[in-house]
Subunit: 288 residues, 2 copies
């Protein structure tokens, strides 16, 4: 998915927010905004939003000399999500369709995204996502694929969302490799936040080999690419994974909330939709 | 009120939205965003957000050769608001405190603001504003001033909001001069939109002599300034009037929703607050 002009104001907001989280004084905040503008004007037309986002968040980390401006936000989101974990588990156990409920819970956690907005209501989102119509049409293909594969590669998105992913992983019934970022970017989960959420107790935690948002394969490690190429089913969480992988031919099921209009338009759904989208290679998945 | 860095992404969004409303093709949308960036970097530190906004919306009108990119939005907002008018009147007539109810209705209409956001829910906002706590502490001073003056200068804000203003003007019981913009800017009301909402039947419609947002006195006409200087009570609607007049010593009562964090912080209220804020000169208003 390419960059849209709509992304320009959004990246300005993200750059300012990240600079402030990193403790930048006002003059440095302004310098960072000016450098962000220069990046926006210079960007290659084929760049995806996460690729530009990675450059901007790296710029903030370098200029402010702060290695992880979202560290506290990530810790707080994980702590809040963990308080919900027993209730989330109970919802799945009491559900008429445990798999779909667990999928919805995993998607609900995708609201924890400081790229899309500065504020969100986690509990309200959970109730909404549990009952909203599913867009994207991918639930049957996902259900079929899960019943047929003997392992899943799960591409993580944000810290805190990790806890919601854990609920889905608990439900899958097959071994899972859970791929996080190799270094901090925005509020994306790294190994630190995955382990704080207990993911290492239910999955093999691996990383993409990159601190880029999503999974831009050109920037990922050979080890990750081998995992990716060999996976029979890839569950990819969130907008950035969709933005970087929507043009890749692989057995991917994207689970996300289409929080911004640009992503929603690309998916052909309404903004705010709860999306289960099977890539063509997954929709063709053969019966086991 | 000065410009904050938070305004930069917001003006980028406004510029892009206005360019699209004016029918600009993508290459021109991009040029307008790049010019907006240049304006942001060049702006005087003392400029208020509405002053910069005026420059950016003028830029869009000039580059696209479209005299009024928000014309259709203004018509639609006025039409929607007029359908609510009978109900709004009934609410005031049935209220225990008709003046406060009419003030709240006028503030509810302030949600119709394409500067603050691209979407809003008018009916939901009305219910919220009718019952929310009033921030700013100005209601007693406003009530006292209304009982004591023999005329009011009312500074309008957006098209459609005009209908909600009309409900308050109906309730004031004194002659009102209703000041709109002298030319199109954003979705602000001009004489055209004021008359479409029937304001000329309940007030003398005048204009600020300027197409700047708010009422930056340096840019307003001598005729408007004489009205302003001679007014015993000025009711000023919306963020832009607050932003341009908050540092002016005059008997002003600001009625607005603090839709953005920058304005809310300046007012010392929470974002989203329903605000009745009396300027110092009004708070000292002598008893009649």
């Amino acid at each position: 998915m390419k960059i849209y002009l709509d992304c320009w104001p959004c990246f300005m907001r993200q750059a300012l927010s990240a600079a402030r989280r990193a403790g930048a004084p006002p003059a440095q905040q302004r310098e960072i905004l000016e450098e962000t503008m220069a990046q926006l004007q210079a960007l290659a037309a084929a760049a995806t939003p996460p690729e530009l986002g990675e450059r901007i968040h790296r710029l903030v980390r370098e200029r402010t000399r702060h290695p992880d401006p979202y560290l506290e936000s990530k810790r707080a989101a994980t702590a809040q999500a963990l308080t919900l974990y027993p209730e989330l588990k109970a919802r799945v156990q009491g559900a008429a369709d445990p798999l779909e409920t667990a999928v919805r819970i995993a998607i609900a956690g995708n609201i924890i995204d400081y790229g899309a907005a500065e504020h969100f209501d986690l509990v309200e989102t959970l109730e909404r996502v549990l009952t909203a119509p599913l867009a994207g049409g991918g639930m049957p293909a996902l259900r079929h694929a899960i019943s047929a594969v003997d392992a899943v590669l799960y591409l993580a998105d944000n810290a805190g969302e990790t806890v919601f992913d854990r609920v889905l992983i608990d439900t899958l019934g097959v071994p899972v490799a859970y791929a996080v970022k190799a270094g901090p970017v925005l509020n994306d989960a790294t190994r630190t936040e995955a382990e704080a959420a207990g993911l290492h107790t239910v999955a093999e935690v691996i990383d993409t080999g990159s601190d880029a948002m999503g999974a831009p394969l050109m920037l990922c490690s050979p080890a990750f690419r081998r995992r990716f190429d060999g996976a029979a089913l890839i569950i990819a969480k969130g907008q950035a994974n969709y933005e970087t992988l929507s043009a890749v031919s692989a057995p991917i099921c994207f689970l996300l909330q289409a929080k911004c209009g640009v992503v929603a338009d690309d998916l052909g759904v309404a903004t705010g939709s709860v999306v289960v989208k099977a890539a063509a290679a997954l929709a063709r998945f053969p019966a086991a």
